[in-house]
Structures are given as structure tokens and as C-alpha cells.
Symmetry: C2
Subunit: 105 residues, 2 copies
DNA sequence: TCAATTTGGTTTATATTGTAAACTAGTTTA
DNA sequence: TAAACTAGTTTACAATATAAACCAAATTGA
């Protein structure tokens, strides 16, 4: 068994998009994430909550111009998980050519 | 929306492991994949079938020493899908620092 | 020689996950 | 004051993943 498990929280398209975006930007608003990811609001809401529950992101809810405003930012825990995930999956890709023959009978 | 969709066939741990292994080895037996991935036989059987259905791999069933023997190999279509998947997800990782500020209000 | 075990899988049944659609709560506009 | 818009949340259903159970043929042991 040559593969490490991929963090199931991060191994999901939308959550990975969110974390990738947050890794490059101090904080991000709900609508920014909505536009950048192209997700539906419902799906985005749920995946944000899930990332918050595992403490990969911090979510601050406030108001701007009387409208609700949700801002997200990456926690250190989230950043570390992201780095581990990137390393792990890139290892998968490099399984290629590491074992040139088929299994000996 | 800055992210391409990740091929849902490949964006699954075990299937990605299988394809990664096949990308580096002419062909592989069921039991080789079983050991290298650490999966259960049931799960492996199903994911092989799924990869075969979408024609990412070719599956040849024969016998060796009177026992059934299943061998898998990557198709050109599968190899291309794998390359696209690798490119796509690496793009996600590079969303980092491509957009330095938060969204302008 | 026939019961138990092993090989090499497949099928089934359940639990988990993902997501679209519907809904909520409040705000603005006409 | 009704309609439309903002910014989300909740719900209900569909799809997915996987462990557990099963199967057929081969082999081993008493």
C-alpha cells in the first residue's frame, strides 16, 4: 500500500476551490467565493459550514450597508491541511514510473 | 469562475490510485492493485468496473494456474483524462497568490 | 473423499455525501 | 405596499462509496 489517504474534507471540488482561494487571499466574502467558484449558494453555504466545523476556516458574520455579510479566512490548521493534501495528491501522480514492471507472479 | 471541473471519475481516491498505478506500468493484475492500494476487494472490483465502463482502462479476464486472473491496462482515453485531471487540479493549487486582495466592494 | 480452506473475485445493502430547489429574513425600489 | 432583490440557510432527494456477505472453482488435509 503506497498511497496515503487524501483528507476527505479537502478531496471535494468545491471545498478545495474555497481553500485554494483562501490560501491566496487574506479573507474572502461569500459573494466573492460564489463568483470565483461558480457554485450555487446552497452548496457554497453548506461547504463553508463544513470547513468551519473542522476549523479549516474562520467565518465572521456581520453587516455592510444593512445587508448580511459573511467573511471567511483560512486558519493555520486549514493551511496545514491544504499543504498536506497538495503533497499527498502529487505523490499519487508520481506513482507513475516508480515501479516499471508488472507484479512478479 | 476560475476553476475547471475535475473529472468526477478520477476525482475519487481509489480510482485515482488505480489510474496512477496503471499510468506507470504496462498492465496490472487485480491482486497487484489490491496490495498497492490497500483497498478491499469489493471496492476494487467496483471501481475497476467503473473505469472500464467509461473506457479509461481495458480489462482482460483470463486464467493462470486454473485461477481467474484479471489484468488491467490504461487506454489512450484514460491516459488523456489522467493528464487533464493532473493539470486541472494543479491549477487549483495555483489559485494561491494569483489574486492578492479581497474582492473590491 | 469429503469437509474445510484458499483464491479471485462479484453482488448487495447501508451509510455517507453532494447538490438543486425551496425557503427565510430582511432591504430596496417604484 | 407590492414586487423584486440581497444574502444567505434548510430540506429533500439522488448519487456515491464501501464494508460485508456471497459465490464458484481449486486445493489441502484427515
Amino acid at each position: 500500500m503506497r498511497f496515503k489517504d487524501l483528507d476527505p474534507i479537502l478531496h471535494q471540488q468545491l471545498r478545495l476551490q474555497i481553500i485554494s482561494l483562501l490560501a491566496g487571499t487574506e479573507k474572502a466574502e461569500f459573494n466573492f467565493l460564489l463568483e470565483e467558484t461558480g457554485a450555487s449558494k446552497g452548496n457554497l453555504s453548506i461547504q463553508i459550514k463544513k470547513l468551519q466545523e473542522v476549523e479549516y476556516i474562520e467565518v465572521v458574520k456581520g453587516y455592510r450597508n444593512n445587508y448580511p455579510l459573511t467573511e471567511c479566512s483560512l486558519t493555520p490548521k486549514g493551511r496545514m491541511a491544504f499543504e498536506i493534501y497538495v503533497d499527498s495528491i502529487e505523490n499519487y501522480f508520481r506513482a507513475v514510473n516508480k515501479d516499471s514492471g508488472k507484479k512478479k507472479s
